[in-house]
Symmetry: C2
Subunit: 148 residues, 2 copies
DNA sequence: TTAATTTAGGACTAATCTGTCCTATTGTAT
DNA sequence: ATACAATAGGACAGATTAGTCCTAAATTAA
C-alpha cells in the first residue's frame, strides 16, 4: 500500500464526517467505519493538531472538519500523518541521490512521484466521501448490518 | 518511501554485484554499500531462495546473479521481497473496493499504480548499476574514502 | 584430516507501528 | 454543586520490521 494504515484511517474518517458542520463522536465514527476506536481517537486528535479537524469535549462534543471537505486535499492529510517530505528523496530508498548524475530510472520514477503528488493535491476528501458511502453500503449489505 | 528498506537493500545489492559472473562476499558487498552486514546476508539468502542469486559456501564462495543484470527487473525484486501483490487493492488502503462503483479517485490512482507497475517491469538492475556507482563515488569523494 | 572461510538458518534484540487502557481535563445537563 | 459525557494525553501491550548473534553445514586449502 502507498500509505500507512493510520493515514488510510484518517482519510476514511475525514470522509466519514458529516459535511453540515455538526460534531461527530469518535466512537460513532469508529463503529461506522469499522476502525479500532481508541486508535482512531488518537488519529483524530492528531488531525486537530494539524488544523484539519476541530474538537469540543464533553456531551454534545466530538469532531468536525475545519473546512469543507472539498477544500481538504488528500495530500494535506498524508502530509499531516506522514510528514511533508514523504515523497522526497529516492523513491527506491537509495541514499545520496545526486541531482547532477541521475540514474536512468530517475526520470521515470520522478514522473511517478509527480503523478502521485499531483493526484494527492487534486484529490479532496469530498471525492472520497462518495466512495466511502458506497463501500460502506456494500459492506453493510454483505454482512447484514449487524456486528457483535 | 515506496519500498521497504529491505527491498532497497536488495536492489542496491543486486546492482552492486559484479556482472562478470564472479562471486562476491556478503560482507564485502555490505561494506561497499554501507548496509548492515548480517541483515544484508539474510536478504541475499532470501534472494537465493527467489532464484535471483546463487551462492556457494566456503572460501572463494559468495553470491552472484543467476541472470545478467539487464534481465532482472526491479519488479521481480520487489515481488520477491514484498510479495507479488504489493500494489493490489486500494492504493489508499481502503477496504472492499467495489470494481462496479469506483470512487472518483480510482482512475487517477489506478493510473499511478499502472505507471509504477510499468516502471517496475521496465527498469532492470542494469539501470541501477550506473546510478549506484555514481552515488558511491560521490559518497566516497565526500567522505574521503575512509570509514572506521 | 584438519583448519579456515563462508553461506544457511534460527534465535534473539531493538525500533517502529498499531492498538489498548487509564487518568486528567473540559464541557453539558440537572 | 454534582454527575456525566466526551476529548487530551500518556503509559502500556502486541505485531511487524530492522538488525544482531550464534551454531551448523559446506567448501577450499593445507
Ligand atoms: S537517480 Fe536513481 S537512485 Fe537517485 S533518486 Fe533518482 S532513481 Fe533514485
Ligand atoms: S474505488 Fe476508491 S477506495 Fe476503492 S480502490 Fe479505487 S481509489 Fe480506493
Amino acid at each position: 500500500m502507498l500509505f500507512t494504515t493510520a493515514t488510510g484511517y484518517a482519510l476514511r474518517a475525514l470522509a466519514g464526517l458529516p459535511e453540515d458542520g455538526s460534531f461527530c463522536l469518535a466512537k460513532d465514527l469508529a463503529a461506522r467505519l469499522d476502525i479500532p476506536g481508541p486508535y482512531l481517537a488518537k488519529i483524530l486528535q492528531g488531525l486537530v493538531q494539524s488544523d484539519l479537524l476541530e474538537s469540543v469535549r464533553g456531551p454534545k462534543g466530538g469532531f468536525r472538519l475545519t473546512r469543507p471537505a472539498h477544500r481538504i486535499t488528500v495530500g494535506e492529510v498524508v502530509a499531516a500523518l506522514e510528514g511533508p517530505d514523504s515523497l522526497d528523496g529516492c523513491i527506491m530508498g537509495f541514499p545520496t541521490c545526486g541531482g547532477d548524475h541521475p540514474c536512468p530510472l530517475h526520470e521515470a520514477w520522478g514522473a511517478v512521484k509527480a503523478q502521485v503528488a499531483t493526484s494527492m493535491t487534486q484529490a479532496t476528501i469530498r471525492d472520497l466521501q462518495l466512495m466511502d458511502l458506497r463501500h460502506l453500503k456494500e459492506a453493510k449489505d454483505r454482512s447484514g448490518g449487524s456486528r457483535p
